[in-house]
Symmetry: C2
Subunit: 314 residues, 2 copies
């Protein structure tokens, strides 16, 4: 145990920054979350994060690296945060350099969906695989890829944006002008809107909170026909994006996580049904459709694991 | 010149097998095509190919390797042809082993679309790039990928099937049960059918041969509104599949070749318009949309180049 290298994993979210001490695939200690919006800009927040790191190092002197998962565009090589989707003021911030200067530890900075994919690949559902597609279903839909036994980041570190892929070339107009983006059909909010509309059409008026994915899962488990139909529709749309990944990359596994995936069989059964019905033999015979091993801790654990690997420690 | 290694490239098609002697990116000699359908099964055809190779070696003793591009599923590592789309009797044929035994030369066997992608990557429009998507538009729609400076073959050597990716989750039912497959909208035959229907709706009855992509290009160049609208539609559908590749892989370039791409600006302008309108900055700012450098010789040249690399000669 004392020889196992420890790393700090930081899950930087739009609401809070969560910092944990990670040993292999476990968070063995953590600091109180930092409220992201309490800070005007990155400088003071980074100083606070550095202090939290120092506090944790007092308790765990074996900490050897720091990994940060960021909700936005990050240059993994330089550790510069290009911009964040839901946090103001984070434009071209050299986060890796600033944190390394303050802590003296090797720091790696990566997109949060890639951290989750890395956690699943190295420590979770995808251990040992060479070709892997990870999807996270929540407020938004994200993803991360492994091809030829390597993470895929692409030309500008943007790869893996499964939620922006189109399932309908004449569909809804998305945030980036993209028509039919998966996220605009199966994001948390879109699921709730579709559910409210479906119940309304059946003469039942429900509030938004009665139509969350969690509430719809409970309803479907009780046999509610409208909820069951909604899960089938959601599964079909997710299967289309997954199918596109399969025809393009021929992966060994599709790993699906995030809040919406907590519906379990309600979502996995239709995804599997529609996915396997739309692939030929070499694409489906050995394909595994797996639930993510890690839940909300995936980002922290993946960031820490990535930091140790990037620093050449494991 | 005498130090430049030569390789034989074989473009194995449903109609004919074309064999060329390749020096760098040029076919410097070739054998008469062999009619694929003249042979009952693979054994006799392979013997004939081996004799053609021996004839070419008499004229070019510097030939150091043989590469074969096959229209179907191939295990690149073992050189076994799993099955071919349009040629009977080719199931689990150890083509590499058989040709190596007959010729004594190192042989590599690869999917034809991957050969084209390899040619463009190593010798054509994509030289020096690390992240590349190649599309070929013809009777079918094929593709090949380069990620992290490596060819992508996937778990079962199926990767790159861009033509089977869906552009509409509720669309037409394709060959493999996949709904909305790109190929079922922009393959040669589908373009002609769409054109005949569009002219028919305008009160003009045309034959199939008056509605080929080549004929439609001529009509559009003369300002025919129906043909122009068709090319715009085709471009929009191709752009959707290209966009999905971009969000997923964040490539430096999309290279488009094949017969349909010969329409030039008629196809490239709408592809570019619809593609760039549906991507965010990091996905489009440095993205290049390029016509393929090689035409119908891409498969032969790519197969030869791949053979030299696989044999460790270049």
């Amino acid at each position: 145990m004392s020889d196992t290298p420890l790393a700090i994993g930081i899950d930087f979210g739009g609401t809070s920054v969560k910092t944990g001490v990670v040993c292999k695939s476990e968070i063995i200690d953590h600091a109180p979350p930092i409220a992201t919006q309490d800070f005007d800009g990155p400088i003071e927040l980074i100083a606070t994060i550095a202090r939290v790191i120092e506090d944790l190092r007092l308790r765990h002197p074996a900490i050897a690296a720091v990994g940060v998962g960021m909700p936005g565009f990050v240059n993994f090589e330089t550790g510069v945060v290009s911009n964040l989707t839901n946090v103001q003021g984070w434009t071209m911030i050299p986060l890796k350099a600033l944190l390394e200067e303050k802590t003296g530890l090797p720091v790696s900075v990566e997109n949060d969906a890639n951290c989750m994919a890395f956690a699943e690949w190295k420590l979770g559902a995808g251990i040992g695989l060479q070709h892997l597609v990870c999807m996270t279903l929540g407020t938004g839909v994200g993803g991360g890829l492994v091809v030829n036994g390597q993470m895929v980041r692409g030309a500008c570190f943007g790869a893996g944006e499964i939620g922006q892929m189109s399932i309908d070339y004449q569909g809804r107009t998305g945030h980036y002008g993209n028509l039919g983006a998966l996220e605009d059909y199966v994001g948390n909010g879109e699921i709730s809107s579709a559910a409210r509309a479906a119940y309304q059409a059946a003469g039942v008026t429900l509030g938004f909170e009665e139509c969350t994915p969690a509430a719809l899962a409970v309803a479907a488990q009780k046999g509610d026909e409208i909820a069951l139909k909604l899960w089938d529709d959601i599964g079909r749309m997710i299967a289309t994006a997954a199918m596109n990944c399969c025809w393009l990359l021929n992966p060994e596994a599709i790993i699906i996580g995030g809040g919406v995936a907590r519906a379990g069989d309600l979502i996995f059964k239709p995804v599997e049904k529609y996915l396997l019905a739309q692939l030929s033999g070499p694409f489906k015979d050995q394909l595994r459709i797996l639930p993510a091993h890690f839940g909300h801790e995936a980002g922290t654990i993946g960031a820490a694991a990535l930091a140790l690997e990037a620093a050449g420690i494991v």
